[in-house]
């Protein structure tokens, strides 16, 4: 006993903590492992296997939460760079190549900042309002079809869900504005409420004609209905609806020229005036996630969702070829690919290096080889990507969907760089006097056209 005591006495404070923990881990660890492998694991597997819907839901939620952050980062970076380009500035260029990590670092900065709650603010509401705003923005991702089969939940009332959840964000903005105990915030919250509630009506009415045409509320089915050539996209059958949707969605997402709720030259920062730290970060992220969502919705509803503008298979059929189909089964290929994997990189690296070596006689051979290797990687990644694009329909769908969505994100950024802000009465007048009648007209014309065509 004295030996143990003496040894214990020699231990530093850190040792006195670590060594008992070590024993604990050595004893408890195996027991937990055995228990998990024999009892908990199979039970969990059974549970998950029995409820695939829940598993799918949890995975989808995790996916959209994880996806929304980089999407917001990319859009923030894009906005900084594109507006800088339009303003003849350079924009962020310090962190990463061409400042690509700027928004990431800005996000980290927001995390480290003080979370300040002003005196007189309603603490609970003040804290939870940004969460509500952010969650409503992220939750709308759940029904957006990113590609064939790439949809969180294929709700048959997807569009209704979208408008319901999207409309909830105004509650968050109103709460944020009210709870801040600041008159600018209050004005911003009230403006947001008035604006979003007004524009919700033309926004919803503008897609009713489309719903009549598609016969479904499921975004997935609407996307499938637009397959084929780009002339099958709903924008050509519902041009007025697409225009109204575009304008109303801009207002819905509080983007310039309808950014009444955070008009910086009038009411400082609107509902976000008193926010700092990560709570401001939530509001900020939600704004950019919203930009992506309205772009994605425009693409899904009116611009063919994940469908490519050109139907390659129909062209091939016209020429007389069979549709391209890649079936990759590595097992059926034998030993050949293994051998190729060993030889092809080396050979191609050398082949790609030769022009670099010959083009400049002063360049050492190793530099040429490095350049050749980089070029080989580029080519290989490109080929793999092409293979994936041809082989997996969801990959092709994702490429087209993201491409089109970011095109519209660019349009929104462009609008922000060029337009001044409209006034609140002009904004409301535009919604009620122009957009709403136009949306109703669109609905009536569509309905009449459907009846005439069917009879």
């Amino acid at each position: 006993m004295t030996t143990v005591n003496r040894a214990w006495g020699h231990l530093s404070l850190r040792g006195k903590v670590i060594i008992p923990l070590l024993f604990l881990v050595l004893i408890v660890g195996p027991i937990v492992t055995i228990l998990f492998a024999n009892v908990v694991g199979p039970w969990l597997a059974d549970l998950l296997g029995a409820n695939p819907q829940i598993v799918r839901f949890v995975v989808a939620i995790g996916g959209v939460l994880l996806f929304s952050i980089p999407a917001a980062f990319i859009i923030i970076y894009m906005e900084l760079k594109v507006i800088a380009f339009m303003n003849l500035r350079i924009g962020p260029d310090r962190v990463g190549p061409k400042g690509a990590f700027h928004s990431l670092v800005a996000g980290l900065k927001v995390l480290t900042k003080e979370d300040f709650t002003p005196t007189g603010a309603d603490h609970i509401v003040f804290t939870w309002a940004p969460v509500l705003v952010f969650l409503t923005a992220v939750m709308t991702f759940l029904v957006i079809p990113f590609g064939p089969g790439l949809v969180g939940q294929d709700l048959n009332i997807g569009l209704l869900y979208l408008f319901a959840v999207g409309g909830m964000s105004v509650v968050g903005l109103l709460l944020a504005g009210w709870a801040s105990f600041n008159k600018y915030s209050l004005l911003g919250g009230l403006r947001a409420a008035a604006q979003v509630v007004s524009y919700e009506i033309p926004l919803t009415l503008s897609v009713v004609g489309l719903i009549l045409l598609a016969g479904t509320l499921s975004l997935n089915r609407i996307a499938e209905a637009q397959a084929g050539w780009f002339t099958d996209w709903y924008v050509f059958r519902q041009p007025l609806g697409a225009l109204i949707f575009f304008i109303a969605a801009t207002a819905e997402a509080n983007r310039t020229p309808f950014d009444m709720a955070e008009a910086d030259s009038e009411i400082v920062a609107g509902f976000a005036t008193e926010y700092s730290g990560m709570r401001f970060g939530f509001l900020f992220f939600a704004e950019y996630v919203n930009v992506f969502i309205i772009s994605a919705l425009l693409v899904t509803l009116f611009f063919g969702a994940w469908n490519a503008p050109v139907d390659i298979n129909s062209i091939l059929a016209l020429v007389g070829l069979s549709p391209i189909a890649v079936t990759l089964d590595p097992a059926s290929l034998g030993v050949g690919p293994l051998f190729l994997m060993l030889v092809v990189p080396v050979v191609l690296t050398v082949i790609f290096a030769v022009p670099f070596y010959l083009a400049r006689s002063t360049r050492p051979a190793w530099q040429a080889l490095v350049l050749g290797f980089l070029l080989f990687i580029l080519v290989a990644v490109g080929l793999l990507f092409l293979l994936a694009y041809i082989g997996w329909p969801w990959m092709a769908g994702l490429v087209w969907f993201m491409g089109k969505s970011f095109l519209f994100v660019y349009v929104f950024v462009w609008m922000r760089g060029t337009f001044p802000r409209v006034r609140i009465d002009q904004l409301m007048g535009f919604a009620w006097k122009w957009l709403l009648p136009a949306a109703l007209l669109n609905l009536f014309v569509t309905a009449a056209a459907i009846i005439i065509v069917k009879s």
């Binding site: 007189g120 009038e266 002009q426």
Partner: protein, 412 residues
């Protein structure tokens, strides 16, 4: 105004009784002392549904440290009360305690956007006191640099106007022009903002090669660039709709309120100090006095467009200056220590914001006995009370930015 003397009648966000236990009241719009005038008592009593909003002194679009207490009914501005003095430096007193040469640098930062005009008026007043004849080349240089600065000020105004209405891009295009001008003035004066260039009896340095080459570059494309900048905004439907019929000011009211400069000319009154009370070499130069806003008076859009018209006229004047510039000395011969005869002198110039004048009383010593500064921004700012009332909150920006106040001159 209740009998008890408190300005609050109804429970509202402004009511100290609903405040928590901390001293939030110190950030209130309502002053802590009982009302001193009837107007103050009337203004600081709220009716049902009204609230105060303290716009400024730190606010993105009050052009400095202007504080305006707005009485809002929803989004509508019922009444407002500008509160000045956040940039007060006591320039007039500083000038009375500096000798005549020092005054130029004391008065420079008044209107920091166009500081040469702030030097011009007192220098002219002192020259009247001293009976100095300024060399013609110096006069031409003054006109040349002054008109350059007028262009830069008006171009910057264009960008600020757009920024206050939420447009991000034009301000940066404006700053390209302003930067060009400021750099070329820095080449001749040695400073980018507070030039300290005019001297009693002339100017500090002759035009040098860098200035002339920069000016030549700029002049070769100035008119074209001005047209391009006009195209940025003037046909923008949102911008025009925000500005039209906002803050309409008729000529008689403008004169009654003592308005001067572009704001007056935008209301249809062709008053320009350069023509009405000619000074320097302006009688020899050809330029028009553009006016806007016919019978109904001028609105914010007129005030905006008028400044763009003036830029073209200034470019015309610069062109003539370059063609007519005589050779000769740039300074009159004067003693180091100036002791003008006892007397009074008034001199006024047409600054980009209007009539900028100084009234100097000399008692025969090397410091003025009294120096009164008449700043156009201060007088023009009076108009906000007339023009902003019963507009929307967003229109306060369209009105205030269109009046183009600079707080340095207002608070002195």
């Amino acid at each position: 105004m209740t009998a008890s003397g408190t300005p609050h009648q109804h429970p509202s966000l402004d009511d100290p009784r609903i405040m928590l236990d901390d001293q939030i009241g110190q950030f209130e719009a309502v002053p802590p002392y009982p009302p001193r005038t009837e107007r103050e008592a009337e203004f600081y009593s709220l009716r049902d549904g009204e609230m105060f909003v303290n716009m400024g002194p730190q606010h993105p679009s009050t052009h400095g440290v202007l504080r305006v207490v707005l009485k809002l009914n929803g989004e509508q501005v019922v009444d407002l009360d500008p509160v000045l003095g956040y940039l007060h430096r006591g320039v007039e007193k500083l000038c009375e305690n500096s000798d005549y040469h020092h005054i130029i640098s004391q008065i420079d930062p008044l209107e920091y956007v166009s500081s040469l005009f702030m030097e011009w008026a007192p220098v002219m007043a002192f020259e009247k006191l001293l009976d100095v004849e300024v060399p013609r080349r110096a006069e031409y240089i003054r006109v040349l640099t002054g008109e350059l600065l007028r262009v830069s000020s008006h171009v910057l105004y264009q960008g600020w106007m757009a920024l206050d209405l939420g447009g991000l891009a034009p301000i940066l295009y404006s700053f390209i022009e302003r930067d060009e001008i400021v750099e070329m003035l820095a080449a001749v004066t040695g400073q980018r903002m507070l030039f300290n260039y005019f001297r009693i009896g002339g100017v500090n340095g002759d035009l040098n090669h860098e200035f002339m080459s920069r000016l030549g570059d700029w002049m070769s494309r100035a008119a074209k660039q001005h047209e391009a900048n006009i195209g940025l905004l003037n046909e923008n439907e949102i911008f025009v709709r925000r500005m039209r019929d906002i803050g309409r000011l008729d000529g008689a009211t403008a004169l009654r309120m003592g308005t001067s400069g572009p704001n007056l000319r935008a209301s249809g009154v062709p008053f320009d100090v350069r023509r009405a009370h000619p000074y320097s070499v302006y009688p020899e130069l050809e330029f028009d006095i553009p006016t806007r806003g016919g019978n109904g008076g001028g609105d914010s859009l007129d005030r905006y467009l008028l400044r763009l018209d003036e830029v073209s006229q200034s470019i015309r004047i610069i062109d003539q200056c370059l063609h007519n510039m005589p050779d000769g000395p740039i300074m009159a011969r004067l003693p180091r220590l100036l002791r003008p005869r006892p007397g009074r002198a008034w001199a006024a110039v047409e600054a980009p914001r209007g009539l900028f004048g100084t009234y100097v009383i000399s008692d025969g010593t090397d410091q003025p006995f009294r120096m009164k500064i008449h700043d156009p921004s201060f007088v023009n700012l009076q108009l906000v009370g007339l023009l902003m009332k019963n507009n929307l909150l967003a229109d306060t920006m369209a009105v205030m930015a269109s009046l183009d106040p600079v707080m340095g001159g207002i608070d002195k």
